[in-house]
């Protein structure tokens, strides 16, 4: 599995721009009515802005030149009413549009977030958190203006252009052709720029994401950085990432800024061509001054929306890479999902079977090879063996964090692929190596194991794992607010809290993956007694290195080279004088 780091740009699947756009705008379809209203209002706006010059013209020609005060006032009153309505409607239009856009953004963000929750470990293992975050926040925010302008600019401006072109050809086809002669040129120019700038905006987004990933890691590991006085190094790295970020931006705007220039140039060309054709080719006599002047006006009416459209297009190209990145995640399918027709896992009794299980993380190196075992309900199994031998892998497979390639895993006879993941995991208590605590009170953190846990249940769980004493000593007791990742507590205390969280869920199968490694031996014994009392007769798996933790197990599996090399209880294994015996004596060697 290739792991992406902050230094590397992400690979992005190439998707057609139109497809991405279509998909983005399809979110607007959910607000069809609102958008229809907005378009009606815009139609009114266009009419009023067309009438306004007429009113002025009529005022000058009919009233001012004839000295007709009353007529002048009357016209002014009409104009006032028209514009007052216009303003109210504009207000409504802006409000509706803002609502639609914000809603679409919230929807996309929630959809993305929800989708990310369904993805499996492989997805999270292969990229820095900061890069996923960049998509949820930054990439989505970048779509805001595009969405609102797509309705307010794209459609009305497009209509205006069509109308103007129609009128021009109706009035004088030759002049119209002359005025529009520069359009193909503009299209070529814009296309040329667009192709280049789009690629560069994609790179810019990637650099932006790298920057985010680095800041995230640096802040998460700030203590290590300060301890190793690596600040100068990280500063240098950050600098180079910021510079790359800026360069990629400048690289993109070098092209993107030329959008306006191309339009400006073509506008000049179109004007020259119009006047030249009008005067030199058609001759002054054939074309009235009025027509020429009118054409001049139409030309500017034509170029204004073109300018708007090109700005919008530019904006679209700038931000579409954000949409591409969002849709890419949405298209990443979760590998571990409930199959069709899964059933709910009934209450677990505790028999666990591995039947010829073979597994590898990346298809190349086998982590587990043909592993089979049967565990009776209520048994405690200890997994020992060298680091990296596959102990954690075995327990991860029981909770179906990964899917196996060969064999079957059964709990109480049910293939775990045949039951819903939620019903399976909710009955398991898994203590992973890194015990993540959330910001919030201690109570909330323990209740994470059982959302509706009562205070009594919470305290009972805390007492069982011997966390109650230190919690009670804290100024706010169970209401003490924990900082990020349980900051402010010692690693051992965090482990105890995570333990309490697992206990409160009253799991049917308990999995302890080095769950007591940072707890002192004395507390550990108390914790073991507590678990014993609370979860008597439940199947449990324990991974540990401390002998005292292992010895009580009903059976010990020694894991090495992708399989179980020895199994039996402590006494049997000692008598065997094999792998377990060697591990055991290694620990004693130095002490005794």
């Amino acid at each position: 599995m290739a792991i992406n780091s902050y230094k590397e740009d992400e690979n992005l699947k190439e998707v057609g721009k139109l497809k991405t756009l279509g998909r983005l705008f399809s979110y607007l379809l959910a607000h069809k009515v609102s958008i229809f209203v907005v378009l009606l209002i815009m139609a009114y706006c266009v009419c009023v802005s067309l009438i306004n010059p007429l009113i002025i013209e009529s005022a000058i020609d009919n009233h001012i030149s004839t000295g007709d005060y009353n007529g002048l006032y009357r016209l002014a009153a009409i104009a006032l009413v028209l514009n007052a309505i216009l303003i109210i409607l504009v207000k409504a239009r802006m409000y509706i549009m803002a609502k639609v856009c914000n809603k679409v953004l919230v929807t996309i963000r929630q959809q993305l977030y929800t989708h990310i929750q369904t993805l499996d470990f492989k997805f999270f293992d292969s990229r820095p958190t900061g890069k996923i975050l960049a998509r949820i926040i930054g990439d989505i925010n970048s779509l805001k203006d595009v969405l609102s302008n797509s309705v307010t600019t794209l459609i009305p401006d497009f209509i205006t252009i069509c109308a103007v072109v129609g009128i021009m050809f109706f009035k004088n086809a030759k002049l119209a052709a002359a005025a529009l002669v520069s359009i193909p040129l503009m299209m070529i120019g814009v296309w040329f720029i667009q192709v280049r700038s789009h690629k560069r905006w994609q790179i810019f987004r990637k650099k932006s994401s790298n920057l985010n990933a680095f800041v995230h890691e640096d802040l998460s590991g700030i203590r290590i950085i300060q301890s190793f006085t690596a600040e100068t190094e990280t500063k240098e790295t950050f600098r180079s990432l910021v510079d790359e970020h800026q360069h990629s931006f400048m690289d993109a705007v070098r092209y993107a800024d030329a959008f306006g220039s191309v339009v400006d140039f073509c506008w000049g060309l179109g004007n020259v061509s119009l006047w030249f054709t009008g005067i030199m080719v058609l001759g002054v006599d054939n074309v009235s001054v009025g027509t020429l002047v009118a054409f001049g006006t139409y030309i500017s009416m034509f170029w204004q929306p073109i300018m708007n459209l090109s700005n919008f297009y530019n904006q679209l190209i700038t931000n579409i890479s954000g949409a591409e990145r969002i849709f890419e995640i949405l298209d990443t399918g979760a590998e571990i999902v409930d199959a069709d027709g899964v059933t709910q896992m009934p209450e677990i009794i505790g028999a666990v079977d591995f039947e010829h299980v073979g597994f590898s993380y990346d298809e190349n190196t086998n982590v587990l090879n043909d592993v089979s075992f049967h565990i009776k309900p209520g048994e405690t199994i200890a997994l020992v063996g060298p680091t990296g031998a596959g102990k954690t892998t075995i327990v991860n497979l029981i909770s179906r964090f990964y899917d196996i390639q060969k064999g079957i895993i059964r709990i109480d006879g049910h293939d775990i692929k045949g039951v819903s993941i939620e019903s399976l995991r909710q009955q398991m208590g898994i203590m992973t190596q890194d015990n993540f605590l959330f910001t919030g009170t201690i109570r909330e953190n323990i209740a994470y194991g059982k959302l509706d846990a009562t205070d009594e249940e919470i305290i009972a769980a805390a007492k069982a794992v011997h966390a109650h004493d230190f919690i009670a000593k804290l100024p706010d007791g169970y209401n003490t607010k924990l900082e990020e990742r349980g900051g402010g507590l010692s690693v051992g205390q965090k482990q105890l809290l995570a333990f309490a969280r697992t206990m409160v869920s009253m799991p049917k199968i308990l999995i302890l993956d080095e769950a007591t490694s940072s707890i002192d031996t004395k507390t550990e014994l108390l914790v073991q007694d507590g678990i014993e009392a609370l979860l008597k007769g439940r199947t449990s798996f324990v991974i540990a290195h401390r002998l005292s933790t292992i010895q009580k197990a009903d059976r010990i599996f020694v894991i090495d080279n992708g399989g179980i090399v020895e199994e039996g209880n402590a006494r049997e294994l000692m008598a065997k004088r094999g792998a377990y015996y060697r591990l055991y004596t290694a620990q004693l060697q130095d002490v005794v």
Binding site: S5, I56, I60, I64, S65, Y69, L72, I88, V90, M94, Y95, N102, K103, V106, Y113, F121, F124, T129, I137, G138, N141, N212, H216, D218, S220, S227, F228, T229, A230, E233, H245, Q246, R254, G260, F265, G268, N271, M280, P386, G388, Q426, D434, F438, E484, G488, L489, V491, E514, S518, T521, K522, T523, H545, R546, L547, R582, L583, Q587, L588, D590
Partner: protein, 590 residues
Amino acid sequence: MRKKLSTYIWEYKWHYLFAITSLIISVSLDMLAPMLTMHIIDDVILGGNLAILPYLLGGILIVGVGRCIFQYTKEYTFDKVGSSIASDMRKNLFDHIQGLSSSFFDKTNTGELMARVKDDIDRVWDTLSYVSMLIIEVIFHTCIVLFCMYRLHAPLAVIPTIAMFISAFIAVSMEHRLGSIYEDISEENAALNTVAEENLAGVRTVKAFAREKFEINKFLSHNQRYYELNMRQSKVFVRYYPYLQIITKLLPMTILLLGGRLVIQGTITLGVLGAFLEYSNNIVWPMEMLGWLSNGFSAGIASNKKLVKIYAQKPAITEAKHPAILDKVQGKIEFSHVSFHKEDMHEILHDITFEADAGSTIGIMGATGAGKTSVIQLLQRLYDATDGCIRLDGVDIRELSLKQLRSSISIVMQDVFLFSDTINENVKLGKRDYINEAIVRKASRDAQASSFIEKMPDEYETVIGERGVGLSGGQKQRISIARALAKHTPILIMDDSTSALDMETEHEIQKTLNALPDTTKLIIAHRISAVRHADEIIVLENGSIAERGTHDTLLAKKGLYYTTYVSQYGEPSDISITTASEEGGAYHGN
């Protein structure tokens, strides 16, 4: 050190000057175009002077080309300035944050700081580039138009002037209203970041408890609030913006009305009124633009305020004015009567006194939360002791240069943190320029890491996941041990750093440590085997030293240490404390 926004701007004054010059030229060219058209109509068509037509057409083309060039230089330079200042600010802010002390990071969320470094600086960037470009353009454009109007007919020009002032007033008061909303938005953006960051970082826990739905709802509530704040912003905008529109629509009407009267009275000609109307159309877009600009501007100001708040944080740990620099750090550590508590929290350490000679080994044991890690954090000056004194080679560590102090200590932390980088770079951390391949390999061998590293496809160039994702707990610990060993510092701290290692591996690492005679070692552990050979073992209980001595004297004492021993290995009487066990055959326990 915080630099004011104006300082940054001043640093780029020549860029700004160039950009503004381009802007002025391009606006002026814009004004030239209608005049050329006027000449074509008046002189060529009506006057029949065909000879000057090529010049006029050339003129139009030149205006087009000129605008094309200066528009570009204008936009490009503003982009350049904006992005340069933003980059400078980002670097500066990052340096500042990195310089803050542990106590700051204890209470500030990563997601929030990320939002500051990324999103808030982006807002300021926008303000400095296109928002300020448009503001300047609007001002300049308006001034020219007003100037022309005053030249035409001063009394009539008073109307657009008043309209302009009212628009400006509306824009300013809208900016005022939006400011506080944007501050809330920026705050909620940080909150959104924090929730999402935590969820992603804790994804294993989320999945283990099958709490995806709970997390989705948690996010939904913040997402919803973000939406509401954005709607509040829109509402304010929608409330003010139409006023600007009223003014822009009323302006030509008023001019028509009043100007019309003047024409009828014969004070001005119809032509003057026409020109006036033309100009007032020209002044409409800058006025409408004002609304958008004040919107963008207030977003930038709000974000800048957030940045100022971060800058207001001062590092709690500072160096002495003239820090002492030791020629060569020997590694003698003294704690004398050290006590420590965080802010208003209860006492974590109480009256700790011990001495570690250069090259000696101190073992620290104690129950969870007894204060073991705090001892080490104080030695590194991640926090300062509230009482007492810590000395390195006889010098109070508060007098020492922070860099020298910390770089003489290598630590293997309990909470292993690895970066998403190659193994090589992870081992080199902190001394990238001094550590070569050979040292990395040697350190990895010593840490018993080389065997698994060399099995990986890219060996030392293998990129590992964030926080070491993809490696087993023991593998992570061994890399972080290699990272510490590679530094060859006078002091080595092992904070419960072999807990995830199997016994054989631990034993091997133990041997390596024993073979470092010049290194002072502080070893925190729960397993007896890890501290067995220490020159002194300190047992902490509730922040105080409860027991101290060597392995043998502590066993003889039959206190806390003894109890721990018994629970790990059984009664010592069962085990003959002889060299016989070294042969590996003496198991008598249980």
